[in-house]
Symmetry: C2
Subunit: 227 residues, 2 copies
């Protein structure tokens, strides 16, 4: 058991070292990097498609897509007009700093303003791994139920921004926004909670403004989240 | 690296040994055991609540609930009228055979006909771990999108039954049942796909019939899935 713990510690230390390297590279290039995580099907790719369409005139953007299999999401993003690289993890349940570093070989970071990293759809494991990002964005969606923050606390505790998607299905799903916000506040009192619908466009302006403000802060050398 | 692989192999072997022990215990007690897995919020607990209400007169049932945190699901099941034990995994992303074995201390297996094991909400990691169950049930729900089998192939490949929940939201979500069934068939040609709505009750009879048939097969000493 002691051997297993020593080994695990070494793996974690290596992962943290690579994440710190990535953070240095993002800072040096003046790129705002955001790590998006959620359950499968909460709408990460849909949010990035809308972002690609709306902000393409303002920022030079790119997306790293993490999935167990297929390049479906990378193709969706490319169709929305911005470059995207797909990482297939095989069975891997989260993106690793090493995988992100390898994917960066395929971008010219100095030619970018914003890099989105779409993690594997999984509300558990990705929350444990730093990818050097400035900010962590956690998505939830109304059909998943309003108690998800209580049941998956680490992801919400470490979020710098919570996006509640599919607000158009609020009535049909019996979702309580008050209950949801209560659970989020209990874990992370000051995090913004943005209610959006990628399907109808409702609320997306607040998300675009959040990206603009965070991009400005990163370009001005602002520190990354210490969460 | 060789050391890490040896260690991982030892952990897997121990997990498989415990799972085989569990399978023996379920068989000896004549209990049908089903392992339910899905993304967070697909409706595992809702399906079990409906099952508790409908089948309580036919079978002696119990539920083992796996969650990172809270006992919300165990309380929901108890309120629906059947015994339930909550396992909190802390950060753990799936239930382990050891956790199930420990939870069994709190049941009299010989006094049960059916045991449901509700895994942690995660479409990735739980698929890798045998818990000694007769059958694996994988849930998906229409708001998650019809491409989830393609993106999370192992869970669907190993499923003995696929339950597609929230069929009442089909139109509102633009979900294609043909696309979904096509992806499932590509991974698992003969698996039944049951379309249900735990909210409206639509399609649940087919699920209850599936449970009855599998319970009969298990009670008659039928083999567990070799997937």
């Amino acid at each position: 058991m002691a051997k297993r713990i020593r080994l695990a510690k070494r793996v974690v230390a290596e992962s943290d070292r690579l994440a710190a390297e990535l953070a240095d590279r993002f800072r040096a290039a003046g790129v705002f990097a955001a790590n998006l995580m959620s359950s499968p099907g909460s709408g990460k790719t849909s949010l990035l498609e809308e972002t690609a369409r709306r902000l393409a005139g303002e920022f030079r953007m790119a997306v790293i897509e993490g999935d167990l299999a297929t390049d479906r999401d990378a193709r969706r993003i490319q169709k929305a007009g911005i470059p995207s690289v797909q990482i297939n993890t095989g069975g891997g349940c989260h993106l690793s700093a090493r995988q992100v570093r390898d994917a960066l070989e395929r971008f010219d970071l100095a030619a970018l303003d914003v890099l989105f990293i779409e993690n594997v759809g999984n509300l558990v494991c990705p929350a444990e791994f730093d990818l050097g990002e400035h900010r962590r964005v956690v998505l939830a969606s109304t059909p998943e139920g309003d108690d998800k923050p209580a049941k998956y606390p680490l992801a919400f505790h470490k979020a710098d921004c919570v996006v509640l998607n599919k607000i158009d299905l609020l009535a049909a799903t019996g979702f309580s926004r008050e209950a949801f916000r209560g659970f989020v506040r209990g874990l992370n009192p000051s995090v913004p909670v943005l209610e959006v619908s990628c399907r109808t466009g409702e609320g997306l302006d607040a998300w675009f403004d959040w990206v603009r403000a965070e991009r400005r802060a990163a370009a001005a050398g602002g520190a990354r989240s210490s969460k």
